[in-house]
Symmetry: C2
DNA sequence: ACAAAAAAGTTGCAAAAGCAACAGAATATA
DNA sequence: TATATTCTGTTGCTTTTGCAACTTTTTTGT
């Protein structure tokens, strides 16, 4: 079946670029294992983490970002990764063999896409908060809801976390300090507790 | 077929609330015609437009936002609208009749979802810009790319536009004024030209 | 056509966030 | 284990953004 979809599996080392959005290709990628991120590099030096990818995350030209003239966007892996690349055309069309599994694949794909939609919506929710504190709290609440616990781990270094929230790193750390002092949160290393 | 999916068509008047995210329901809605928006009302008075919905846009609990303790999120129509509501379960599962059109429906759904993913990604791109000016320019470039023209219409009042970019209205208008003065854009009423 | 309401645009001032240049801590590397 | 590198956390200063109060313009409804 994978042959029928022109699928191919590839491995990448931490730090490698998996996919760049500058050259339109008719494929989608599915992260099989590892952690990756969609990152935008602005030519003025600003870096933003547009999306965090975990296993089963799906990405590709069709589903995603269009870099502007003064930026480039790429999927970069944070850890060693395996990725399945699938031809977009042969995926959505009925295959010649009319194989049953093809139908199932489309169902699975629907699930992956709807998960992606959900995670992008969460992303919009965080980024549409007005202040750094509100962004932090909104994201913390998402993590807490995901773990069903008021204690959770940040999946970022502070540098990446700031780029993820699209705010200045030192301003973010300053705000975290205030929130700690005001008794809103507890934080040591990457472990956060909402109080 | 629509019966088999427990689908029902409903009409709404401009300003009416189509869907609220506080009571989880197992349905998705597809906007058939009109304009609507996903809006978050924070209890401190802040209003944000999380998403703009046009005909064929799809929305629902499964695909979307989770309101926090101090906010509520709803789909509100801007103009008169018709919406098709579909039962999520019966949509994704194979139906008893194994009707051919059911398979086609899933394909169509895949298309709608992938469009939604794309528009949410664009949204993330805008909101992850650091300054008001960058947000404006990023959004303008999206509109220009969509119309294939450097002149385009804003689909908002200035009030809604600011809520869409998640910035203060007067600060936004101030910035638009500066950009006009610096010769970056031309703007009269809702017509914008990139220079 | 007129009044009322909504939206657009201005401005001064206050608050928040960005920036840059550090010092100290933690990690990685030889 | 020493050394380099990256990350974390601080701070003073600057710039941007938010806020509130207001005037002007546009739209709507009768």
């Amino acid at each position: 079946m994978l042959a029928c979809m022109k699928a191919q599996k590839r491995s990448f080392y931490a730090g490698e670029e998996i996919y760049s959005f500058d050259t339109p290709r008719k494929i989608v990628g599915i992260l099989l294992n590892g952690q990756a991120a969609v990152i935008r590099y602005e030519y003025n030096g600003t870096r933003s983490i547009l999306e965090n990818l975990s296993p089963k995350s799906i990405f590709g030209e069709h589903l995603s970002f269009v870099p502007s003239d003064d930026s480039c966007i790429a999927v970069v892996c944070q850890t060693d990764c395996q990725v399945l690349f699938i031809d977009y055309q042969s995926m959505t069309r009925t295959c010649q063999n009319a194989c049953a599994c093809h139908t199932q694949l489309i169902r699975n794909l629907l699930q992956l896409l709807s998960d992606k939609t959900r995670s992008l919506s969460e992303r919009v929710e965080v980024l549409s908060q007005r202040s750094i504190r509100e962004k932090l709290m909104c994201y913390f609440m998402q993590l807490a809801a995901g773990k069903n616990s008021s204690t959770f781990e940040l999946p970022f270094t502070m540098i990446d976390f700031a780029d993820f929230l699209s705010v200045n790193r030192s301003a973010m750390i300053r705000e975290l300090g205030k929130m700690k002092k005001e008794g809103l949160i507890q934080i040591s290393k990457r472990t956060v507790t909402l109080l």
